[in-house]
Structures are given as structure tokens and as C-alpha cells.
Amino acid sequence: MSDIPIGAPEIYRLTVNGESHDVQDAWLGESLLYVLRERLGLPGSKGACEQGECGSCTVLLDGAALCSCLVMAAAATDADIVTVEGLTQDAALTDVQAAFLDEGAVQCGFCTPGLIVAVHHLLDNNPAPTALETREALSGNLCRCTGYGRIFAAVDAVVASRADQASR
């Protein structure tokens, strides 16, 4: 363990969505995004810009929302990684996913997984964000279809329904 990732690792272990995965035959420079998609069969995180500009690969790493394309997978061996697949334990939609559908916040869908992770991260840390806080929190997730209006509407809907549930 202490020798990873010093030197080219032959095998290392990642904890993704609560499960331990062995990563074999990886090249040291591989991004977490690549390893998730191509080696671990978790294609929910999308790859577009590969330089941290679009946010479609957003995952949670020890609770922080990060671009998985900029995380060296071999350096994340001790981290708790959550991808869009891990936000729900069963096949049901999360409240954020359901709100995206209800509000028409999904068009081509490519940015959606990253936005879903970013919205969960925002609302878990700030249950009642102002309009500015929501815009700031999602400023790292590019959407070229919706113009963001439907996405903000979905965030507002989740905020309202969570507040409603909490008050019951």
C-alpha cells in the first residue's frame, strides 16, 4: 500500500459506491474517469473535455465534488468515491433525477449525470441555496441544450419537496 502509486502500479484498489474494486494492468497516468468507464464498467460519468471545463465527469471524492478526468486514479486508492450510479441503492431514481425528468431539465442528456452529482452535492451541503448560490455551485457544469432554466427549476423543485418532507 505504501508503495502505491510510487512506481508503475500493477494492481491497485479503489472504493467506488461502497464496493472495493481491483484495477489491473492500468497505466499510471490514467484518470479516474477512464478507469471508472473503461475498467470498472461504470459509464455513468461522461467524458467530454478531459480538462476540467465541462463537469460532465463530476464525482464525489471523500465528499468533495471533483472532475474525475483530473483525478489520477492510482492516487485515489484510499478515497471514498461516489459516482452517479451510487447515488441510489436500488434502481429507483433519486429525488433530483426525478425532478430533472419532471421539469424537463434533460435534453440530449450528456451533461445530466455530472449535474445530478453536482446538485446532490449542493443540496446535501446547503438545503436552501439562493438563486446565486445555485448558479455558482453549477457553474462548473456546462449544458448546451437547456439554457439552464429547466435545471434551476428542477433544483427549486427538490428544495421545495425536501423542505416539505422535513416539516411533516
Binding site: 500500500m1 505504501s2 502505491i4 502509486p5 510510487i6 512506481g7 508503475a8 497505466w27 499510471l28 497516468g29 484518470s31 478531459e50 480538462q51 476540467g52 471545463e53 463537469g55 463530476t58 468533495a64 465534488a65 471533483l66 472532475c67 478526468c69 483530473l70 483525478v71 489520477m72 492510482a74 492516487a75 486508492t77 484510499d78 453536482a118 455558482e136 455551485a137 457553474s139 462548473g140 457544469n141
Partner: protein, 285 residues
Amino acid sequence: MPSTVDEVLAHLEERPDALLLSGGTDLMVEINMAHRKAPDEVVALRRVQELLAWRHEPSTGDADGGTVTIGSGVPYAEMEHGRLAALFPALAEAARTVGSPQIRAAGTLGGNLGTCSPAGDGLPVLYALDAIVHLRSARRRRDVPVGDFMVGVKKNVLEPGELITGVTLPVRRGWQGYSKVGVRNAMVIATASACLAMDSERGAVSVALGAVGTTILRCRDAENWLAGELDLTADLLEISDELAREFGQRAAADARPIDDHRSTAAYRGHAVGVLASRLLRRAAR
């Protein structure tokens, strides 16, 4: 993965050419874009606790606010709000302009210094505040003023086997701020940037410019001129339009901008003067 500075330094002593990986927001782009060949030795710093902390050492004698040492692995997200932001408003403003929330959760001052791009958002703040950069190798420690640390476009005095452990900044009384121009508001690399910091205790001002030279530039002429025109120890500064304009022009005279894919030399030279002048007006508010 190393968890102490000593472990990092021991590795570097054996393999001085190993790549040091902090937030990854520069290095991974280079690897993903194949601008850098596959590394065969990487030392990941994310577990090294000593690099992830910051501490305020209050001054013992005079009225000064003491110093703060920020570990090289502290992410920008930690400088945006809270105690660090209260101590260094200019650093907070610069941190808020870095990339996106995802980038600010990963990117660090150590990475900004290691990459040493003239457009790095943290660097004008470090220079305006006369930061000291702490370097360590297995053989020695040295403390380098940030102005001497940065020597050119993506060039610094870091030697093989050396690690940037942190920076020390003085806590100053007086207004400070950071401004930046880019093609849009979020997620943008500076076309031109500037940091202005007052030192009310000493009646001095410092101005540092980014993205308008091979490295960050200090505007000594503009600084000295303003200190001669105004009593900078005053709590309330009276800044006329004329004074702000001349200050901006004098600051811009120190810029050495170039034409590149991001902008033109003429625009950068103009913009950086406007930024310096605007910062001075904000200082007077």
C-alpha cells in the same frame, strides 16, 4: 502513498525526477491531452497532512497582525470563505475566480506555484503580499521570496528533489483586492489580472499584475508614486478620478504583454491599467 513530508522527501531523494501531484488540475490536463508523456514515477501529495493545514501566528510585539502559513496542499475552496478569507480578502477574491467549484476543490497554491503560469490566479496575490515560499528537500530547507521564486513562463527556481511545503503571508491592515479580466465570468483563465494591497501600518501600497509578462510583475513606480501623493496610513482615502487614472497608467507601464491565442498585447496593456485603477477606487470606498 506518502503521508508525511519526510516520506515525500525520501522518495524524491531517490528519484528526483518523480512528478509531484497535488490537485491534478494542471498535470492531468497535460497527460489527458498527451502534452506530456506518460509518467513512470508520480508522488501523490493528497494524503500529506502537513501540506493540508494552515496556521495563524499572531504578532508578539507591535500592532501587526502576525503571519499566516498556508500549506501547499490547501485547496482554493478553503480560501473562498471563512477565516482565511477574512485574513486575506484578496486571496479569497482570487480563489473565487479560479475555474469552477470542482476545480477549486482540487487546485492548490502549491500547484499554482509549481506550474508557475503568469496567468495563475493565486500568484499576483502572493506577490502583492510579499509571500515567502518554503521549499524542502532531503538535504536542505530554504525560504524564497515569491518574486525570486518565479523566473519565467512556467519556470521557477524549484530544483529536482525539492518540494513546495507552503507559503507565509503577513496579515496587513488595509484594503486589498483582486480583479481579473477574461472572456467570461466563470471558468476562465485570466487575460489580465491585478492585485492591490494596502499596508496602512507602513503607509505603503503594493500592486502585482498577472498575465501581462513572462511572470507576475510588481509595479514599483506606481506604488512609490501613490505613497508620495497620498497619506496611505489614513483610514479613509480620497481618490480623485485623475489620481486613479494616473495610477492605472503608471501600473500599466510596467506590463510587458504579448499577443497570443487568448488576447492581444494592446488589449492586455489597456485592461491591466483599468484593473489597477479600478482596484484603487475600490480601496477608497
